[in-house]
């Protein structure tokens, strides 16, 4: 079919940050098909240079409000490694609890407010209030619960206050933990069950497109890796976090203020679907049953199903939060001060899973504990090449459809990745001269 079609979706809505989808088809030939990233860059490298290790995470948190907890955790891990700061078991447990809370809140925001309007055939979640009030109220209740975990443990869910290198400036009360545990059981579990039902009922709105790709995430032998682990590629297996540059290979493309990445093939995917594909065996029986109810196959190559994998993770995060609180309460909260006495000054890498995928921070510090060089590789940047390749496969498959349907399916595809464009351009990892 010799169709000519020009699509230019400017400032795509219901994503974090600014991006355009551009498609040009001439006489049936796909000439251009890409996600342009047009967000203003923010020059974090220039800001970090010379700052004290007490301030690094405060600054990098502001790369992205949506992913602020993840940036803090990756940042703290990198700083602690560079300065030789050990952290306690209690600190690790509390950080894992924070990650569960942040993943839950981010996934809920994406599932209900950014992706669901497409499934329900509306333009925004607020329009669902008259017809599906209980769904909207449930979404808000789940987000509140997730944010309350952040507020209690870290002082504030957006740009957390208490997590610092070596530990926490203030610890939560046991009574607060008990209260939030009760809500996780009494509201969280029934609400996530209802979420599964809601999404199961709209699964026929999820396009049936597939494209197998390389999936990269953290992986850990004992748990569904979110806080820590080795880097794992579905193509090449496990690699040490120290090899993160070989696993990401950033390159500049003309249509994006954010760099692209690739590893074993032309592109790879990170995020909930990649974690699911690589690590589903570490999920509990009941989380796996949830996946089954949502038709999520153990190896799923449909990028639109990323949103569904996020639902399974919501279930996991609630279950895991309850378990973490139980072990914290069993041990009793100890009044520990953060360990902030460096034992060396050098380089450190921190890798952690944030809702949109694997995030890397690397710093080098001088002998006064000030930053010499910094490098951050953000999940959305890693997904951009994969999104372009998905679009290039998808467009020819739906080329006979009306223009609006093509546009809508492309928008839904980009949204399914839950791109955080804010994040991806807010740091471009070039090293300082001498770094």
């Amino acid at each position: 079919m010799s169709r000519t079609l020009d699509l230019n979706i400017k400032h795509l809505t219901r994503v974090e940050g600014h991006g355009n989808i551009v498609v040009n088809i001439k006489d049936g030939r796909l000439e251009r098909c890409e996600l342009e990233i047009v967000e203003a860059p923010r020059f974090f490298e220039a800001m970090l240079k010379g700052r004290s290790f007490h301030e690094t995470a405060i600054i990098t948190s502001r790369i992205c409000g949506i992913c602020s907890l993840g940036h803090q955790i990756a940042s703290l891990k990198a700083t602690e490694e560079a300065l030789g700061l050990e952290v306690s078991e209690q600190t690790v447990l509390l950080r894992k609890l924070l990650i569960d809370g942040a993943t839950l809140q981010s996934n809920i925001l994406h599932i209900y407010f950014l992706a669901a309007p497409d499934f329900f055939g509306t333009t925004d979640a607020f329009k669902l209030i008259p017809t599906n009030k209980d769904v909207v109220l449930r979404a808000l209740r789940m987000k509140r619960l997730a944010n309350d975990i952040g507020d209690i443990v870290s002082g504030r869910a957006v740009h957390p206050i208490t997590p610092v290198p070596g530990g926490f400036t203030k610890l939560p009360d046991e009574s607060e933990l008990r209260a939030i545990r009760r809500r996780l059981v009494e509201e969280g579990l029934p609400d996530v069950e209802a979420t599964v039902d809601t999404i199961a009922s709209v699964l026929n709105s999820v396009p049936g497109f597939t494209r197998e790709t390389e999936y990269i995430s953290l992986s850990h032998p004992d748990e569904y890796a979110l806080y820590d682990g080795d880097i794992f590629s579905s193509d090449t297996g496990a690699a040490d976090v120290n090899n993160y540059r070989e696993m990401t290979n950033e390159f500049v493309v003309p249509h994006s203020t954010s760099k692209h990445c690739k590893h074993a093939r032309e592109s790879y995917m990170v995020g909930a679907l990649a974690r699911w594909n690589n690590n589903h065996a570490r999920l509990s029986e009941s989380a796996l049953r949830v996946a089954q109810r949502l038709n999520l196959e153990p190896r799923c190559y449909n990028p639109y199903m990323n949103t569904v994998a996020q639902v399974v993770e919501c279930y996991h995060c609630i279950e895991d939060s309850i378990a973490i609180i139980d072990s914290l309460l069993e041990r009793g909260i100890r009044n520990e001060k953060p360990n902030q006495t460096p034992t060396r000054f050098g380089r450190g890498i921190g890798a952690t899973e944030v809702p949109r995928g694997i995030l890397y921070h690397e710093y080098e510090y001088d002998r006064r504990g000030n930053i010499v060089s910094a490098n951050c590789i953000i999940p959305t940047g890693q997904n951009l090449a994969n999104i372009d390749h998905d679009m290039k496969k998808l467009v020819p498959e739906i080329i006979d459809q009306p223009k609006e349907i093509i546009a809508k399916q492309l928008e839904m595809l980009v949204r399914a990745y839950d791109p955080c464009i804010s994040c991806s351009v807010h740091i471009l990892n070039v090293e300082f001269i001498g770094g």
Binding site: R14, E16, M47, R62, R144
Partner: protein, 256 residues
């Protein structure tokens, strides 16, 4: 705000983001308990992060982020022209915030550091607050902006009143909460020179104040200097910390 009736002419509200981390916008979606109630009283006409719609006129426009590219400058003029009341949200929009730290280095160096050879590919300017370019009616400070303050301001504006915004220092609120002063632990805290209204949230959680709400109108320089010297800390320590969020503010170069 308890009536269930839908008013025929609800005020049109819009949110816009400029160079920012989108944390302030996200904070509004974090008003989970209040959102349904708010939505009964206003018509949300533009909020790119959460909806598809666009509009031509706004009763109240909320602006997040600093201005840092030529297109930001054009866009803010356009929004101002179409807005009755314009409110700046968060440190980026009110004082330049963390973005303005890049202003401390020559713009050529900043470009080269990030883009190398390609330094002129993307136009960039020093990061400036909204009030440096257009008239701002009200400012809600903080990084992120404080949620209770946002609600207070919104309610006042919807009732046609001028909102009350604080101008005393963070220390005042901190002392009311009977926190242990961080200076006693040898830590530089910017509470004495920073505008309050956040209920001293950071020192209350054991962390120093980073100055995210900006400099108080008449900072007591001598008192600040006294505190610093008493605790064996230098002016440079405090000034360097102050630049985290306040690099735009020229006064910041002489807080003490």
């Amino acid at each position: 705000m308890k009536s269930d009736q839908i008013k025929p002419n609800k005020p049109k509200i819009a949110f816009f983001d400029f160079t920012s981390c989108e944390g302030c916008q996200l904070n509004k979606l974090n008003l989970e308990n209040e959102l349904p109630d708010i939505l009964r009283h206003v018509e949300l006409v533009e909020f790119r992060e959460a909806m598809d719609d666009k509009a031509d006129y706004y009763d109240i426009a909320f602006i997040e982020g600093s201005l840092s590219t030529p297109s930001c400058i054009n866009r803010i003029h356009d929004i101002r022209r179409r807005s009755n009341i314009l409110v700046a949200l968060g440190a980026c929009a009110t004082i330049g915030g963390i973005n303005s730290m890049k202003n401390l280095q020559p713009i050529e160096t900043v470009r080269e550091t990030v883009y190398g050879e390609e330094k002129y590919r993307f136009p960039t300017l020093p990061a400036i607050p909204v009030s440096a370019v257009v008239k701002v009616d009200y400012e809600i400070r903080g990084c992120p902006m404080s949620i209770p303050e946002f609600l207070r301001v919104l309610k006042a504006l919807l009732m046609g009143k001028a909102p009350n915004l604080p101008d005393s220092a963070v220390c005042v609120e901190c002392k009311l909460r009977e926190n242990e002063c961080l200076y006693d632990r040898g830590i530089v805290c910017l509470g004495p020179v920073t505008v309050g209204g956040c209920e001293a949230i950071c020192p209350s959680f054991g962390q120093f104040c980073t100055g995210c709400r900006g400099l108080v109108p008449n900072p007591n320089k001598d008192a600040m200097l006294d505190i610093l010297t008493q605790h064996g800390l230098s002016l440079e320590d405090a000034q360097k910390r102050f630049l985290l969020f306040n690099s735009y503010n020229i006064e910041s170069k002489s807080i003490t």
